[in-house]
Symmetry: C3
Subunit: 413 residues, 3 copies
């Protein structure tokens, strides 16, 4: 996963443009992607696909001709969606177009201006301080023109059409944790899932406008999404944070509460700010989509700066994120509600070979307790996860018990 | 407000009589009052308007002709609704008619006997102790005769007929905190409200029988009362206590929880004892009426004694009660449920001038967060107060956000 | 009660057989029992009545002819439902049929094998250790033959057909706390109840198969059981434990929470393991049946061993269990939901003689407060127990207040 982060890191992504296409090409080497191109001007929900932005070069040259700020060194140097500029101006004229982080003077900030035509450069405060007065040559070789918005999907068909959505944003340029780590973990998860019960849809799309576009183009089938996760900031060394869906008690929320119980973690309620859960959990859709991150957005000083580089993400952290997702998938896949077919009194487990035969002992095997719990609570209103939580038995033991009872005809779906 | 308390203090009020009328006259100088007179014998719910009680003088004279207990000194000296008496008797004969507070030997207690014909005097235990054996002349120059029960109302018409009721009892004689302070604060509040959304009804009526009479005479329109507060003990130096309505989660309960959150306060559940919330919250009416006091009834040693005098109430405490009520009114006035008109995905706030244009920053203005919250939760089931509590944003910011969104057509009522 | 435990202790009970019949005969001397005999082979819910088991003698003789294990000394020595055996074998051959408790080497364990044909002996680990190698004569003089399952019922007719079920298992041989103490306490409770409101049904039946048989034979009238208690382990010196019904908030659960509040106790949620609450609370029946024990099953080292003898149960503990049940019965009998017939405002209690006449005092008698609470909450949705818990007044005071109000026509059922 870390190698993928390093390979994707140099590309200059934005909400449109060739950086996104190159990223999807590289991810597509690991998992087949269906790529969708949506033309500029297309109406998507309350929004319109903007013009496509591409950039080849950008710099600020001082009076000696030296590039004091250079896009070739870091694509963060240019404000995303900057219109082309080619001019010479004094530092005072240039100053309103320069963005720095005075409190983190060595770092380059990340800034964009998608929907307001402007241009700008981002640079370290310390670099700015050293710029002498004088004339500067300013050049941004970008294009903002009719084109497309691009996103990619990888679908793993399941036994049912009901979907689990894993969504990652792809619009950030050279920022590793946000969100190349998310893309890398999602890719690894997609490679691991085989013959699932649910259909799994991995969506790699620009933030906000990309999710909105996907929702607009799939509006009639959005209700197939039964569960979902927005995956971001998946690689920093902080512990895991799960943000609940707007519903607050969707099955995905319950699943992550269960999976995270044994891990160092934080669970927070839904807020309408963050990543694309904002769109999936808008009140009209209100999907059962939560968000998994390690340290949440804006929660670490490297956030949206040049310090969010591949060194900032750790292979161990990405592996931990992946295993957590894998455990969640494991519960989603097996979680069902059953009906006890013999609900009056306990069925005689012994004659079906499901129970120890020598009575009077004060201990009972976990699997036998699990069978009693599944029988007792399988009235159509309790899922296996409910039963696991109520009984404090491990989910896998409860699911195994349900499988044995199902085999004996004592419960049915 | 304190001047009003001092001016009303000497009057001898009871559940009927001229003391109530004089009190309403004085309050009427500040806010216009519609005064209702209900004749003795009128059936009101399960009760009947009693005879009207008036008193001119009362005393106990010792053998030397000295007034050892004198109504002219304090109207608390006479048990409320005492029948006339004019007799000479020994101290032993008189003794069953004398009420003192042995544990507070310097204070005169407050006693009444509205519905059982008797007479009595209240005096300090220390006064009683000094009375020598001997004959005493006892006189109560009162009348108990057909007349009226009197109450006053001040109504501020609103945009809607739905009402907010502020109710104060007016039946206590020379007791300042209970309830002249409540009347004074209510009067000040009435003077401050202008062009409200709700119709505000201030009711100044005798306790129990007065509220019951008003309910009986307004039974068909009681359901206009959407919110209400029984205001009492509004001026002592203790912190505020809010007592929930019988419903427990009425909007008024939510409003006071929110308003009091930043203040030193106590919130208690409804009990069927206290002031006229007992009547408004009887199960047949079950109105959304809570009660606001500073120290609750019987919670301070001066309660129902001669120590509850104008010195006991403080101008600062009354001002604090008033400001709290004012904040509550401010929320009631603006609290609405809206519907997001663009509930699928987030609407594009930027092109409507409702959002900062430069992306990538990790901070977001409070008002912008409030707009996202209002959009996300305005599904018809969340009020602005719900949204403020859920988001932990100030109510006024949330209400301002809703106003901006309403102006842009993004939410509707 | 302790005398009954001692008298019943020596009998060799099992899920069928003469030991149960003798036990019911002895209990029947205190309370009349209707005894039901259900033939072997009868289908009961998912189960079938097994063959009846009886035993006359059993032993292991060593080479000298000495009985080293002797049923006559303790009926725990034989595994319940052992098939007949008469053989001579080496200790090595015998060994798989011997059950001991290595961690409690002086105690004889209790073991059964109802549904798997086998035989075995239970003995102290220390006895086993002293057995020399050699040949042993092994004999179990038992019969396993078509017969009956036996249970007994004692019914106290009430004013209504709705039933309170008190259920005790009777299938354990010489074990005192589990469950002779339960049977003794139930018997004493039955003797104390006179002219009840509910119909009380005491069921003394073998565990599991007995309860299942009773449910099968009474399936059409099971819904008459409105409340119930499975009573077991009623005599050890530990504090009381109440196990909630599967419903979790059944009236019986509320009653025991209230009754136990003033006692040293533990309340646990329902689990589908334990005593016959497993059957009554199976999802098809889902009755309001909880379980009362002192120390729960398997919670004390003497559980299911020869140390659970009459010395292990204390008369004081049984008396405490009985008084707790009696208090619970007292609440069940009086707990009702009333309707306030005068719900608009407070009714005038004074003119009905229900209220103190002298106003102004800051104290109010408990019974008067209880009347206000009953009036305020008697809207058909609050029971007297609800009102007692809400008001924190004693249940008996609330019930007395309701009685007074009912007498005055102010509430009705």
């Amino acid at each position: 996963m870390h190698a993928l982060v390093e390979r994707l890191y140099p590309l200059c992504r934005s909400i449109t443009g060739d950086g996104v296409r190159s990223t999807l090409d590289i991810v597509g080497e690991s998992i087949p992607l269906e790529v969708t191109e949506v033309p500029t001007g297309t109406d998507v929900l309350d929004w319109t696909i903007p013009r496509e932005w591409n950039i080849r070069d950008a710099y600020i040259k001082d009076a000696t001709g030296r590039r004091v700020v250079d896009f070739a060194e870091s694509n963060l140097h240019v404000v995303g969606y900057s219109v082309p500029v080619s001019a010479t101006m004094s530092l005072a004229e240039l100053r309103p177009h320069l963005h720095t982080l005075p409190d983190q003077p060595d770092l380059i900030p990340y800034r964009t201006s998608y929907y307001s035509e402007t241009w700008g450069f981002c640079l370290a405060e310390n670099t700015l301080k050293e710029l002498p007065e004088g004339q500067y040559e300013v050049r941004i070789d970008s294009t903002l023109a009719p084109g497309h918005l691009t996103y990619g999907e990888h679908v793993i068909p399941g036994q049912v059409a009901d979907e689990v959505l894993i969504s990652c944003h792809v619009c950030h340029p050279s920022l590793a944790n946000d969100n190349l780590a998310g893309i890398a973990v999602a890719t690894a998860l997609a490679q691991r899932i085989e013959n699932p019960y649910y259909t799994y849809r991995f969506l790699i799309a620009p933030g906000t406008i990309g999710a909105i576009t996907w929702l607009a183009l799939n509006r009639e089938r959005v209700d197939r999404v039964k569960h979902g996760i927005v995956l971001a900031c998946a690689g920093d060394r902080g512990s895991l944070t799960y943000k609940r869906s707007r519903r607050g008690d969707a099955e995905i929320d319950r699943v992550f509460r269960h999976v995270l119980a044994g891990r160092d973690h934080t669970i927070v309620d839904f807020t309408p700010y963050g990543y694309d859960e904002r769109q999936y959990c808008s009140p009209g859709f209100n999907l059962g989509v939560g968000s998994l991150t390690r340290t949440p957005y804006a929660g670490y000083p490297e956030y949206h700066t040049s310090a969010d580089n591949p060194d900032f993400v750790s292979p161990e952290a990405m592996a931990d994120t992946l295993e957590t997702l894998w455990d969640a998938v494991g519960i989603l896949e097996r979680n069902r509600k059953y009906h006890n077919t013999s609900p009056y009194g306990e069925p005689q487990l012994g004659r079906r070979g499901l129970y120890g035969s020598l009575g009077g002992r004060s201990d009972t095997q976990q699997i036998q307790m699990a069978m009693l719990w599944v029988l007792n609570l399988s009235d159509g209103s309790h899922s296996l996860l409910d039963i696991a939580e109520r009984s404090t038995l491990p989910f896998t033991v409860v699911a195994d018990a349900a499988k044995a009872l199902h085999g004996a005809g004592l419960v049915k779906e």
